[in-house]
């Protein structure tokens, strides 16, 4: 729509103003790491963060949420609860932006999930261009997520003393004009922006030994690859790789009751295909018992199954699963191993 310029000094006042009407969520420090969390003071916002432990999906699909409340007894009643509130999600990197677009597809296809979609509808996304790799684990350049053309309301690029703001939606424009003080970009600003954007690419390296578009075809020949057994030996089945993945959305549903047993809630919580009991039915049969088969499922889902379903790859190259794995399992090394032996 338009390109605006927001001085860095104007960010804190903008956040402050937003906090009056929105829940504002953005990256902030936690020990030596960063997390997306609710901002209660603009100084908490760290737009210079590298990556976060959990992806911003936690804002759209919380680790745990209420689906319904109910009353038990002779005439049981159940009432849907949608936990959504006006939210501004600040500082989303483009890898995570791509992931959110996949989540949008997953939760809107065929049977739309009102819980996710209403939260999504009420969330204004302000994304942020990455100018440096977050660390040695990310491979966004290989996955084609180093930049994004859509999926945001406002998109920031750091120009040094100011941010260039790509205003992509009406909602974004309103937000900026109502709460912020930005000016229109000049020809000089645009020139500076283009310089910054073209200078960033050489700083990122390709880590996949092949074109990511080949992944689905490559994996379709790799079902019986020896890699899976090797990973199964090393994998602790702790579920961390999927919990930190920005495109994993599997969940478990359970009921909780109060002490009188008269009332309760139906809740859902993130679940993981890496956990031992994920595919076990009540009768006892476990349909994905081996850790090797579970790791294969994860790799296949990221590189093939989700692509077949939604037309986009399930891996955005954020590197979180590699960073979090205490056993040192790397999805990019795994993909390269398969490519190397194909």
């Amino acid at each position: 729509m338009s390109l605006m310029i927001l001085d860095k000094g104007a960010v804190a006042p903008l956040v402050n103003a937003l906090m009056a009407d929105y829940r504002v969520v953005g990256p902030q420090a936690r020990g030596p790491k960063f997390v997306f969390d609710t901002i209660t003071d603009p100084s908490q916002l760290r737009l210079d963060y590298n990556t976060t432990i959990l992806p911003p999906k936690k804002v759209l699909q919380p680790p745990e949420e209420r689906l319904a409340t109910f009353v038990r007894g002779a005439k049981p009643q159940v009432e849907t609860v949608i936990e959504a509130q006006p939210t501004v999600l600040l500082g989303v990197h483009t890898c995570d932006l791509h992931a959110i677009q996949l989540l949008d597809k997953a939760f809107s296809q065929e049977y739309p999930d009102a819980h996710y979609l209403q939260r999504r509808e009420q969330t204004v996304i302000v994304s942020l261009e990455c100018l440096e790799p977050c660390d040695e684990h990310s491979f966004c350049k290989s996955m084609g997520t180093l930049t994004a053309d859509e999926g945001y309301d406002l998109h920031l690029t750091d120009l040094g003393a100011s941010y260039a703001v790509d205003v992509a939606t009406e909602r974004g424009a309103e937000l900026l004009s109502k709460y912020g003080t930005a000016r229109e970009a000049t020809a000089a600003d645009i020139k500076r922006l283009n310089e910054v954007l073209s200078a960033k690419w050489p700083r990122f390296t390709y880590r996949l030994d092949f074109d990511a578009a080949e992944l689905p075809a490559l994996l379709s020949t790799a079902y019986d690859h020896p890699l899976w057994d090797e990973l199964g030996e090393r994998c602790l089945a702790c579920g961390s790789c999927t919990n930190v993945c920005p495109t994993c959305y599997c969940f478990n549903v359970f009921d909780e009751v109060d002490m009188s047993l008269a009332e309760g809630e139906r809740r859902r919580r993130w679940d993981s295909c890496q956990l031992d009991e994920f595919a076990r039915v009540a009768g006892g049969e476990n349909f994905r018992k081996a850790r090797a088969a579970r790791q294969r499922h994860r790799f296949m889902r990221k590189g093939k199954y989700l692509y077949e379903r939604f037309g986009v790859l399930g891996c955005v190259g954020c590197g979180r699963c590699i960073r979090t794995c205490v056993a040192g399992i790397s999805i990019v090394d795994g993909f390269n191993t398969i490519y190397g032996s194909a």
């Binding site: 997390v35 432990i53 994998c235 602790l236 002490m259 047993l261 956990l275 031992d276 009991e277 205490v326």
Partner: protein, 251 residues
């Protein structure tokens, strides 16, 4: 519990520090409605009465003497539901550490020249002696989990405890992984349910809630060795709370 009468509940202790019962007492302070839901007829930690008519028995502590077995069988015979309360009853807990040594030596260390006065045998969880319907793991137990188990029993449902590892709870809380700050943790193979309380406060998990089903122990040992622990240090961590199950698994 199909009847309208409040189920009668009793608490018992064997070899233990009774800290789990103290946690129950603590839970009663914050969940007063628990006392509306059940009737406690025996609880040495909190009352003097000793009713022998009960349906649910919570048993803390491990069985460390042959003579304890008879008392356990009596409890089993009376109770419709027996719940193992805490690590000692669930896995044998720290009591089973003695099983790594000759029992005669252990007796001498503890009782000196009075050793002959005291009976002992390898410590074991109570389900090695009697059938157990539900487990509340931990050293000590998690009070919220205790409440959840009681509610499940009241609903007539088999109480289920998490079958996934601590890492899940730790990640969902978005804690910084202790391995990433040079510490050690048994979280990847330890049963969740405590809210990853130790890692949340910066201490590595010591496995008090027992191991998850099908733990990858070898990979865990590799990870700990990679992080700088010696074999002795690794075994010390593994055996702290899980001596008995690990020895049984080898049998």
């Amino acid at each position: 519990m199909a009847t309208n009468e409040k189920p009668k509940v009793a608490f018992f202790d064997f070899a233990s520090c009774e800290g789990c019962q103290l946690t129950v007492v603590d839970a009663l302070q914050t969940h007063l409605d628990l006392l509306d839901a059940v009737e406690i007829v025996q609880f040495r930690e909190a009352m003097t009465e000793k009713g022998e008519d009960y349906q649910i028995a919570f048993v803390e502590g491990s069985c460390t003497r042959k003579s304890d077995e008879e008392r356990l069988h009596r409890i089993r015979k009376q109770a419709q539901i027996v719940v193992a309360l805490g690590a000692c009853a669930h896995t044998g807990g720290v009591n089973a550490l003695k099983n790594l040594h000759p029992l005669e030596d252990v007796r001498r260390w503890v009782y000196g020249d009075k050793a002959d006065w005291y009976e002992t045998y390898p410590a074991r969880p109570i389900d090695a002696v009697i059938e157990v319907d539900a487990f509340i793991p931990g050293c000590p137990i998690d009070r919220e989990e205790f409440i959840r188990v009681v509610k499940a029993l009241l609903l007539g449902k088999k109480p289920s405890i998490p079958d996934y590892p601590l890492c899940v709870e730790c990640k969902l809380k978005e804690n910084v992984c202790l391995f990433q700050v040079g510490k050690f943790c048994l979280g990847p193979i330890t049963r969740a349910g405590c809210g990853a309380i130790c890692p949340t406060y910066g201490d590595g998990c010591e496995g008090c809630r027992g191991l998850i089903p099908n733990p990858n122990e070898n990979a865990m040992k590799d990870v700990l060795a990679e992080a700088g622990l010696t074999v002795e240090e690794i075994m010390a961590r593994f055996t702290m709370f899980n001596t008995y199950p690990l020895q049984e698994a080898k049998r």
